[in-house]
């Protein structure tokens, strides 16, 4: 019997937790922008506990996952928006209703709603199961969900 399913990897993804002010050259990341993607490491650094939100994603091949950190480009060398892909926090709250919207945007709050971090070591003790990219990740350049 033919196999029709595909197996995708699980990726650790860092989302911007808030809008960052313009740096004088271009628009910086906005809340929900996808900043970093990597295969699962299982730990984060000290400054990565509050500046970004860590979440697990699945549903794309390697070659399709890495472009999620690309900028919105105009021509070959020019970009005007820091990141092309995002997970809007409002959409994330629909998928995860207990998400605390006040805490996630608080710069002083090391709020990680999708993982339990060991405060001493930075290791992820537990993680929320991976979210699927479809219907969650938004392509700002094409104005559509992937």
């Amino acid at each position: 019997m033919p196999q029709t399913f595909r197996r995708y990897g699980v990726w650790e993804v860092a989302l911007s937790a808030r809008d960052e002010p313009n740096n004088g050259v271009h628009e910086r990341v906005q809340a929900g922008d996808i900043i970093a993607i990597r295969r699962q490491l299982g730990y984060v650094g000290r400054k990565e506990r509050s500046s970004v939100v860590w979440i697990l994603l699945t549903g794309l091949d390697d070659s399709d996952m890495y472009p999620l950190i690309h900028p919105v480009e105009e021509g070959n060398d020019v970009f005007f928006d820091k990141r092309r892909y995002c997970i809007p926090l409002t959409r994330l709250k629909q998928a995860f209703p207990s998400l605390d919207m006040a805490r996630i945007t608080d710069r002083q709050d090391a709020y990680q709603p999708f993982c339990l971090l060991d405060e001493d070591t930075g290791y992820m003790l537990t993680m929320h199961p991976p979210f699927h990219v479809q219907g969650l990740v938004y392509d700002k350049s094409m104005a559509r969900w992937i």
Partner: protein, 343 residues
């Protein structure tokens, strides 16, 4: 006297490595430091630790507001750097699918003394560095084993804008080109005191604009060492074939390294192909410096990344030793020093 390794006049330093460091992701550091560094009056420096043998990571440097005094840089922490031999220092070994591993859209960005490898399965030609803004600098880095298991290749460094430069670096065994020089017409990119060994296509590929090569050693690159192109201002290069461009360059040379079979491409003291044949760059109009891959001072200038017969790196570069960088390991601290800028 001026080291090729120059850091911002004042800067905020953070650490990179395992979970006890500030950052485990280059892109998260990038996002946190993508600010107006000029108005802040602080550069941003990320210092890497060998908590693990290597890190599978990439970065898109998305155009912080910088100038010659305040910019972003990545380097090993004190004692974490290589000895000039692959496999001895802080290393980023990327296996992801992005075309550009270090994708630089920062003016004045610097990478110092880091090891890079790249493994990819692609039909195109990914590159380790893409220098897409002016005055980006790669200094003292070891790039090796750019392996593409697909139909494409891997390039080492792609210098795509005006005044980008690679200095004191080894680029070895890229399946594609060691350094592609591709600034627009009327612009210039620079390659000084690099050793380019055994790359799958050629050592240096001049694509457009002007490429200035000085003291560049190219040995046993498969197709050719240098292609034909506009190398105006180049001098004192050396090649194993007949392609070294510029004045006072040496062609069809045989080079003697300390231990090539074990990846030690420091020049042997018995070398007769490159030793003592370099041009003095102490007062170079574009990029003046005086130290080699290990931070040792060039005495009589040589071609390639090494002054032979000196002790070797030992994991610390000249700037680190002079500026007392051993005391800068604290994270997030403000640091200043009085060194001048190299251009």
């Amino acid at each position: 006297m001026q080291s090729a390794r120059q850091l911002p006049v004042t800067y905020i330093e953070n650490s990179y490595g395992g979970a006890t460091r500030d950052y485990t992701s280059l892109n998260v550091w990038e996002s946190d430091t993508d600010t107006n560094l000029v108005t802040e009056g602080n550069g941003k420096v990320l210092s890497g630790y060998k908590d693990f043998p290597s890190y599978d990571d990439e970065i898109f440097l998305g155009a912080a507001n910088t100038d010659a005094s305040y910019f972003r840089a990545i380097q090993p922490a004190p004692g974490e750097g290589h000895t000039g031999v692959p496999g001895t220092g802080f290393k980023i070994a990327y296996t992801g699918a992005s075309d550009k591993q270090i994708n630089c859209f920062d003016h004045y960005f610097r990478a110092h003394d880091i090891e890079f490898t790249r493994t990819v399965n692609s039909a195109s030609a990914p590159r380790i560095f893409f220098l897409g803004r002016t005055n980006a600098k790669v200094v003292g880095c070891l790039l090796y084993d750019g392996i593409n298991t697909g139909a494409g290749s891997v390039h080492g460094i792609y210098q795509d804008d005006d005044k980008c430069i690679t200095v004191d670096s080894l680029i070895k065994n890229m399946s594609g080109v060691g350094i592609v020089s591709n600034p627009a017409a009327g612009f210039t990119s620079y390659i000084y005191n690099c050793t380019l060994q055994g790359n799958g296509v050629r050592a240096v590929d001049h694509s457009s604009g002007t490429t200035v090569c000085k003291n560049v050693l190219a040995n046993a690159n498969v197709s050719e060492d240098f292609n034909a192109g506009t190398y105006t201002g180049s001098s004192n290069n050396a090649s194993s074939d007949a392609t070294a461009p510029g004045t006072s360059s040496r062609i069809n040379q045989t080079f003697t390294f300390v231990d090539a079979p074990n990846n030690d491409f420091h020049l042997s003291t018995s070398d007769a192909g490159a030793k003592d044949f370099g041009v003095d760059l102490n007062a170079d109009a574009f990029f003046a410096f005086n130290d080699d891959i290990d931070g040792d001072l060039f005495a009589t200038w040589d071609i390639g990344f090494d002054e032979p017969g000196t002790p070797g790196g030992g994991g610390g570069h000249l700037l680190g030793r002079l500026a007392g960088n051993g005391g800068l390991a604290g994270n997030g601290g403000l640091v200043s020093y009085g060194g001048g800028l190299a251009g």
